[in-house]
Amino acid sequence: MSATAHTAASAPAVGATRFSFGRMLEVGAAWLLAFLWLLPLIYAFWSAFHPSEYATRFDILAPLTLDNFREAWSQAPFARYYLNTFMMVTSILVVQFILCTLAAYAFARFEFRGRDIAFGLVLVQLMIMPEVLIVENYRTMSELHLVDTITGIGLPYMASAFGIFLLRQTFKTIPKELEDAARVEGCGPIQILWKVYVPLAKPTYIAYGLVSVSYHWNNFLWPLVITNSQTTRPLTVGLAIFSAPESGVDWSIITAGTLLAVAPLLVAFLLFQRQFVQSFMHAGIK
């Protein structure tokens, strides 16, 4: 390549070659970064699917095994953790959808006294997320007798400022004529919401739903604080206890447990990659 560049007589040819060399460097850099970004996951797969003596030794011919997964599954109540995470994530999502839809509808289509101040107060939660206020929220939960319950994990997140904001923006773009038409047909405010606004905001619900599910599936600090038994702990907290150095479990089993914890979300992401990326984009630029 560079030989051609040296012998080429015309200037454009030199430019073109230099450009393509720079281009190759760039592609190489982009790939290298992609490899680095994937490396932790590649390593987790390596270690989880090989016997523990290969956990830190990289040999192409190392035998494959599923024993680590079997061990991890038997050493910690992963089935229970899955169930807890699933119940927590779905209950949060369902209540979020209902509460945020109602509040967003109020902000988008009703003129009531104090609306702007109320909206400003809602947005405060974008800055001060519940995990910042763990001390006081723990106190409140113990007064409500909700410590160590799935409801206790979810409650602080159920009225989400982010969801209200996102849905309000979407509702505002829906033409008022549709609402007027529904009213002429005799629909009340709740029917209008249900028949006009909600169906038209479907992409926003999907986007917000994916962001919410991945956030709460991965959330750690608040669930750690508020749970203290197997029957409520979500996967993240269970995994942290399972992999604590005190528990003396070896590398391969820890990485197998780690993959178990991330598997559902990871598989969903790989299958619906485009949808995920677009949802995060959609949620971010509103």
Binding site: F110, S214, L221, T255
Partner: protein
């Protein structure tokens, strides 16, 4: 008719808002105010109930060396993570936005850390940092570097925490840049080509300024993250060695739930809330300016 309609609007508006408002007030506004109030009281025990002590908690905070260290760590954490993760995010977005072999795979690799729980990836990174058998040391050994206890050394531990955070959030920020890049009209680049501008000039003079609103949005998120992302500490270091990697929110957690000094934790939370308030005000000022320039 109009006034009946108006009253109906008032009632419906508030009725629709009430369920969300109750939860928001209970778990955001009330605890924020209660935190401030509690910071003026001592932590109660069985024998000594909590009592008003004025600014004593603040006095002991100012005398608490660990607090100052944690604050300093948090500033370095912010300085280390914010610019680098934004720069990498921008680079990723530019790469993934143009024609690139295996583009789908590359984009997926960049984005994957976003959907993995921090607590799980910290487990994997722990292996990278392990002395001797860890990946970092194994690669280092190929180049004759001596083994190093990355997480056990007060000089390197915060850098390790910063690295994992950058890895975790860069792909997330990339998404916003990618969305913004896709809205830029392609004619701009064609015009620049006709003018003979190099790609770098084009990026510096055209793309980057046009991405400014996105950069601000990402910047605010990155600043908030630098106070909020502490999950990795639970697995990697527990704030050690010698509090060299402890961050403000982690120290709050420790005080409240390991040392059981809730009211001191509240005092520390007030500092965190102040920091977030400053960010919020800064955001308004910057956004205001942007509107003036337009």
């Amino acid at each position: 008719m109009t006034s009946a309609r108006n009253i109906k609007n008032q009632v419906y508006g508030w009725l629709l808002l009430t369920p969300a408002a109750i939860l928001l007030v209970t778990f955001t506004h009330y605890p924020a105010i209660a935190t401030l109030a509690q910071s003026f009281f001592s932590t109660g025990t069985v024998t000594r109930p909590s009592k008003f002590i004025g600014l004593d908690n603040y006095r002991s905070m100012l005398e608490d060396e660990v607090f100052w260290q944690v604050l300093e760590n948090n500033i370095w954490y912010a300085v280390g993570t914010i610019p680098i993760s934004i720069a990498i995010a921008l680079l990723m977005a530019v790469w993934v936005n143009e024609k690139l072999p295996l583009r789908g795979l590359v984009r997926m690799s960049y984005f994957t850390p976003t959907i993995l729980p921090m607590i799980a990836v910290a487990n994997i990174w722990l292996f990278f940092y392990t002395p001797e058998i860890g990946l970092l040391d194994q690669v280092g050994a190929l180049f004759g570097a001596p083994s190093h206890n990355w997480l056990g050394d007060t000089d390197t531990v915060l850098g390790c925490i910063i690295a994992i955070t950058i890895w975790k959030e860069a792909g997330f920020f990339m998404i916003f840049y990618l969305a913004a890049l896709q809205t830029l009209p392609p004619e701009l680049e064609e015009a620049a080509k006709l003018e003979g501008a190099s790609r770098w000039t084009f990026f510096r003079r055209v793309t980057f300024p046009l991405l400014m609103p996105t950069t601000l949005f990402v910047l605010i998120n990155a600043v908030i993250n630098s106070f909020k992302l502490v999950d990795q500490l639970f697995i990697l270091t527990k704030g050690g060695p010698d509090n060299a990697s402890s961050l403000l929110l982690y120290y709050i957690y420790e005080n409240a739930f390991s040392f059981f000094d809730q009211n001191y934790a509240s005092t520390l939370t007030v500092v965190l809330l102040l920091a977030l308030a400053v960010i919020a005000i800064g955001q308004f000022v910057i956004l205001d300016k942007r509107i003036h320039y337009r």
